[in-house]
């Protein structure tokens, strides 16, 4: 096996011989309630894969299946080419996992919890605990039940990284962290990635995925809507228009193919457009306008469009 020998650059993906995560038609029902349905995607070695979708879409269900915390109703998943269920113990040697909600044994001190966590992995460099705690500004001698939510999250981060895992799975990692800490955390993740770690990063906040990830999988209502390169996604020619007309126009004036999220309020028209920009210019030219703003839409707005389109 050649884990860790490739650089983190996703551009080289053709060179990869094996996906770190392979998910095939993974389906999970909780009784009759839908968890996820026919989820399939791969995460390649060395990439930072963003897993994005609204709350309740099935992100945690997918992640918890990968860790065999729960068992799939059908379908399968492989990590490092090994089956998640049958070879789960071996696989988990090389995974660092940060759950979306962090809870630890209350009566323990932070350092004891981290040492306990380290005791599950062979050859953990104990220095790494102190390094990570230093970076994340975490007081190791406090009792866990005295910690704030954000500080518990830091314990989770250190706990997930202390054994230098080859695959880091982060489920909504930034909630509870202040912006400064988020930045430190992102730097840390980047560093781990440079050292060769593959990262699966789940989030419902698009800007952070935008900052960090090379590819994204979009999940909605338990199904994968799209897996796309983050650059393709950003470079898709979406433009956000805000036009103030001289006189009020009817709603259907701008209602044609390529227009999304159209709102018309008297003289103010706004929409997201992808297509030939001249069509808009023609339309605008026919009527006189007071003001015209053309912006890059945020990923959030592009995703909203995805969600609506696929619904």
């Amino acid at each position: 096996m050649i884990i860790g020998t490739f650089g983190p650059h996703y551009e080289n993906k053709e060179a990869f011989e094996m996906s770190v995560i392979e998910i095939n038609n993974l389906t999970k029902y909780y009784g009759k309630a839908r968890g996820i349905k026919d989820v399939s995607f791969n995460v390649e070695e060395g990439e930072i894969f963003g897993f994005i979708g609204p709350n309740g879409a099935g992100k945690s269900t997918t992640i918890r299946t990968l860790l065999s915390l729960i068992y799939p109703s059908s379908g399968s998943a492989k990590i490092f080419g090994k089956d998640c269920i049958n070879e789960g113990q071996e696989i988990r040697q090389h995974i660092g996992y940060l759950p979306s909600e962090v809870f630890y044994y209350d009566n323990m001190k932070v350092i004891d919890l981290l040492k306990y966590s380290a005791s599950f992995y062979p050859n953990v460099n104990k220095k790494r605990i102190f390094e990570l705690a230093e970076i994340m500004d975490l007081d190791l001698n406090k009792k866990i039940d005295d910690l704030s939510y954000g500080n518990k999250k830091k314990v989770g981060i250190v706990q997930g990284l202390l054994h230098s895992p080859k695959l880091i799975i982060l489920d909504e990692p930034t909630s509870g962290l202040d912006p400064l800490m988020q930045q430190k955390f992102f730097d840390l993740i980047h560093e781990e990635n440079k050292k060769g770690a593959t990262i699966l990063f789940s989030s419902h906040i698009l800007s952070e995925v935008q900052k960090l990830c090379t590819r994204v999988g979009i999940i909605k209502e338990g199904k994968i809507v799209k897996v796309e390169d983050i650059n393709t996604l950003k470079s898709a020619n979406y433009k956000k228009f805000k036009i103030e007309m001289k006189e009020a126009v009817s709603t259907d004036y701008f209602d044609f193919a390529g227009i999304n999220d159209l709102t018309v309020e008297e003289t103010t028209v706004s929409f997201i457009y992808s297509g030939d920009i001249n069509k808009i210019i023609e339309k605008v030219y026919e009527r006189k306008i007071n003001n015209l703003i053309v912006e890059e839409p945020t990923l959030e707005e592009i995703f909203m469009h995805y969600y609506q389109k696929e619904a």
């Binding site: 945690s60 918890r64 630890y104 599950f120």
Partner: protein
């Protein structure tokens, strides 16, 4: 090994408190023994005035309170009760505490098998229970020998006491089984108390009705002290049932816990 040690660290203080509880209950009763044994005739008269169902239910008809093993047999019922609640509580909580404290995502995501988790946790409970038994039995021997006015059969006394361990093991196994079957356990002690007292009431009914079939469904009936005194041994039928149940419930625990989805928070 790390899970085992972690478990012990978290449970040792509770085990100590319960052991102290058992020792002091035993001591309190035994201190009354000299008084009761000297007035044994009066005691028997008082007891005989109670309704027979009542005395049977308490096990007073078959035990001779004027000798130390008989008197100990009477109080031992209450030691069994305390020990069983502790065993049941330990059995129920040891696996479910991960779910209750929401730490299952931490532990199960580590490179350990579910089987290894159950084994480590079961071993920690067994360590507590065994140490508790050893300490308690030593205490019981010391106290019994101090208050006894005549010498008594130490072998029989040991047999009576060892039945505590067997009954506790039943409740550990039963507690483990319940903990993997019940969806969400919010508090442990009410379930432990309820179950143990349920079995205790069955035992009182059993003693009162003397129904051989009823006796099989409550572990409190498996080791009848008056029978142990009489035969210097256990009833092998009940002993077998006891161990079969321990093995069945423990195996089911392994099986179900391996297949179970860890509830998300």
């Amino acid at each position: 090994m790390n899970i085992y040690i972690q478990e012990l660290k978290m449970s040792v203080s509770s085990a100590i408190y319960w052991t102290i509880g058992m020792l002091s209950t035993m001591l309190l009763f035994m201190l009354m023994f000299p008084a009761i044994s000297t007035d044994a005739v009066i005691m028997q008269q008082i007891v005989s005035k109670f309704p027979p169902e009542f005395t049977k239910a308490l096990g007073l008809t078959t035990l001779d309170l004027s000798v130390v093993t008989g008197f100990y047999g009477f109080l031992f019922m209450y030691i069994l009760l305390i020990g069983s609640v502790f065993a049941m509580k330990s059995g129920i909580s040891v696996l479910s505490e991960e779910v209750r404290a929401k730490t299952a995502d931490f532990l199960v995501a580590k490179p350990v098998t579910r089987t290894a988790i159950v084994t480590a946790k079961l071993m920690s409970v067994l360590t507590n229970i065994l140490s508790q038994n050893i300490i308690y039995i030593i205490g019981a021997f010391i106290v019994a020998n101090l208050v006894a006015d005549h010498s008594f059969d130490q072998g029989i006394f040991l047999l009576i006491n060892i039945s505590l361990l067997f009954v506790q093991l039943f409740f550990v196994a039963f507690g483990l089984f319940l903990s993997v079957v019940i969806k969400k356990i919010k508090t442990v002690l009410p379930i432990a108390l309820g179950t143990v007292f349920g079995f205790f009431v069955l035992q009182m009914l059993n003693q009162s009705l003397a129904d051989a079939k009823l006796a099989y469904i409550t572990p409190f009936a498996y080791y009848d002290v008056s029978q142990i005194i009489e035969t210097s041994g256990y009833d092998l039928g009940y002993l077998a049932v006891n161990w079969i149940l321990i093995i069945v419930f423990t195996s089911l625990t392994y099986f179900i816990f391996n297949k179970k989805d860890m509830p998300s928070v």
